[in-house]
């Protein structure tokens, strides 16, 4: 049992619609998957990863879902070098 302490910044996940409940208009590849939401907030009470957890969001709302990530962070970047861009416009030449 490894409970995450209350007030930790976490991300929960909720299945909003199962494949069977999805909108009539979605294409087949999308319909094969559930409609899922993730939200971050402060853990309201100690909980385990993978178990049900309640969070308090940045605007103070209380929401419940499956505890997914502890200290969720952003790791998007400028990406790996794209050599095709490097020579464009060198020396002021278009």
């Amino acid at each position: 049992m490894n409970k995450i302490p209350a007030e930790t910044w976490v991300e929960i996940e909720q299945v909003i619609l199962t494949p069977a409940q999805r909108a009539p208009s979605v294409p087949d590849d999308t319909r094969a998957t559930p409609y899922v939401r993730r939200i971050s907030g402060f853990l309201a009470a100690p909980a385990e990863v993978g178990a049900e957890a309640t969070i308090r969001t940045l605007i103070g709302r209380t929401l419940t879902g499956t505890l997914r990530t502890v200290n969720p962070s952003y790791s998007h970047s400028f990406g790996e070098t794209v050599p095709e861009l490097l020579r464009i416009g060198l020396g002021g030449q278009a």
């Binding site: 409940q21 899922v36 993730r38 103070g60 970047s77 990406g79």
Partner: protein, 470 residues
């Protein structure tokens, strides 16, 4: 008794939910199944131009610089026929509080929400508008919820959308990160019902009127510096608000002869609600997946009547390929010494092609920029595309196939874009109207409205009626 929260039941309650969350009774403007009083709906927002400007100045919006792109203009002249190559100007909307022109829309929506006593605002958007609402809400002391379509079913997020989500949280918003699907609107309705927040939709009359100041500023700045009106203003087009608001502002300023040219990235062939296609496109907005359906039927949004009616104001529609935009984005950095994000660079790409066809003494204005950085940067977009199996190479941009490859031009003279014939879109719009009320039942007033909604007259409409049966 608890409410039925199934998809069908919530969608059936949409009109009452939207009425409560906007304070606008859209039914008051309806005149027939295919006609409503658009101008009255816009007037009833009650703001004068001076009031819009004052509200926006309070929250760090507007009065952005207009730059002359001297080096890019010279480069275009070198590849143009003698006497051709218009001056290219760039309106630096990245200077607004949240880094894009969307702050103009959000400023008026949040002001209105505060004035009406709402505790918070909610919006459904994966674009810059989310950050704009979050930024404006923070300044007005409102709570903010942003709903974003971020992930495919494997949990892989478009880097640009991930960045926009980060920015919303940075301004203190509660961000809902959703998987691919049109059910975003369903979640928006349930959120509005749960919270009682104001619907800071992109498409309300408040939001669109907020963009009018962009048009009036462009007219004033060009007149002050060049003693004339701009000959063309090029607008990156998706949902239609940017074009509608800017064009209305130009008209308010009296720049009636300025041509308003829409531009989108051509993503034809990719399905916008497809879990597979979602991460096979490098542009999250400003593309044909929004631009064409919104032009041919604006009333497909989270409000009953869309205040963004792009075909009313559009004189021309240019499409560009993804590879062309990436090339111009890089060139903007190397020649002009500024790094900006993809949305404004879409219209800049069209501007290069259009300026080349125009006389040297003419002026074309690219009417927006947006911020760039991790996730939004074109290197980030291209590296992500490559990781998704998209082929990236230099070559002739006409070889671009959306979802399969990105071909970056080798030379500036290969940046040409292509024309999207407007009459074809106008007829599509009429066909959509005929699905609601058969054309045989249209009254003379209906015809006048529908014609005006695509910048034509009733005589033109009568001339294309036979095509509706095709």
């Amino acid at each position: 008794m608890s409410r039925d929260m199934s998809y069908a039941a919530v969608m059936a309650r949409k009109n009452e939910i939207m009425k409560a969350s906007l304070g606008i009774d859209f039914s008051a403007y309806e005149q027939s199944p295919v006609r409503f009083d658009y101008e009255k709906m816009m007037r009833d927002t009650g703001f004068t131009l001076e009031e819009l400007v004052r509200i926006q100045r309070e929250t760090k919006v507007g009065d952005t610089p207009l730059f002359e792109l001297r080096n890019l203009t010279e480069a275009v002249r070198k590849i143009s026929a003698p006497g051709k190559g218009a001056t290219i100007l760039l309106k630096d909307e990245a200077a607004n509080a949240s880094g894009s022109f969307k702050a103009r829309r959000a400023a008026i929506s949040c002001y209105e929400a505060k004035r009406r006593g709402f505790a918070g605002v909610a919006t459904a958007t994966s674009g810059n508008y989310g950050a704009a609402v979050a930024s404006q809400a923070a300044q007005r002391g409102l709570k903010c919820i942003v709903l974003q379509e971020v992930y495919d079913s494997r949990g892989v997020g478009q880097p640009e959308i991930v960045e926009k989500g980060r920015k919303c949280e940075a301004f203190g918003a509660e961000v809902h990160k959703l998987t691919v699907g049109p059910e975003l609107f369903y979640v928006m309705l349930t959120t509005l019902e749960e919270t009682g927040f104001f619907n800071a939709s992109l498409y309300t009359p408040f939001a669109i009127r907020g963009i009018e100041t962009l048009g009036t500023e462009i007219a004033a700045q060009v007149r002050a510096r060049y003693n004339r009106d701009p000959d063309a203003v090029i607008v990156t087009h998706a949902g239609g608000g940017n074009l509608t608001g800017t064009a209305r502002g130009l008209l308010t300023a009296g720049a009636a002869k300025t041509r308003v040219i829409a531009c989108s990235v051509d993503l034809s062939g990719l399905h916008m609600a497809s879990d597979r296609d979602f991460n096979r496109k490098s542009f999250t907005t400003g593309h044909t997946g929004f631009g064409v359906p919104f032009a041919t039927w604006p009333d497909r949004t989270d409000v009953p009547r869309n205040a963004a009616r792009s075909m009313r104001y559009m004189d021309e529609y240019r499409l560009v390929m993804q590879g062309e935009v990436f090339y111009i984005t890089e060139l903007l950095a190397k020649l002009e010494g500024i790094e900006r994000g993809p949305a404004g660079n879409t219209s800049l790409t069209a501007a290069v092609a259009i300026a080349r066809e125009m006389d040297r003494d003419k002026i074309v204005v690219v009417q927006e920029t947006e911020y760039t950085g991790a996730g939004k940067h074109h290197n980030s977009q291209l590296a992500f595309a490559r990781s998704m199996g998209i082929e990236v190479r230099r070559g002739d941009p006409r070889e671009n196939v959306p979802g399969k490859n990105i071909v970056i031009p080798e030379r500036l003279d290969q940046v040409a874009g292509h024309d999207q014939p407007l009459d074809k879109l106008r007829v599509s719009y009429l066909k959509n109207a005929a699905k609601i009320l058969p054309a045989a039942s249209w009254s003379p007033e209906d015809k006048a409205f529908l014609a005006a909604d695509v910048k034509k007259d009733s005589a033109w409409l009568d001339s294309v009626l036979p095509q509706l049966k095709a």
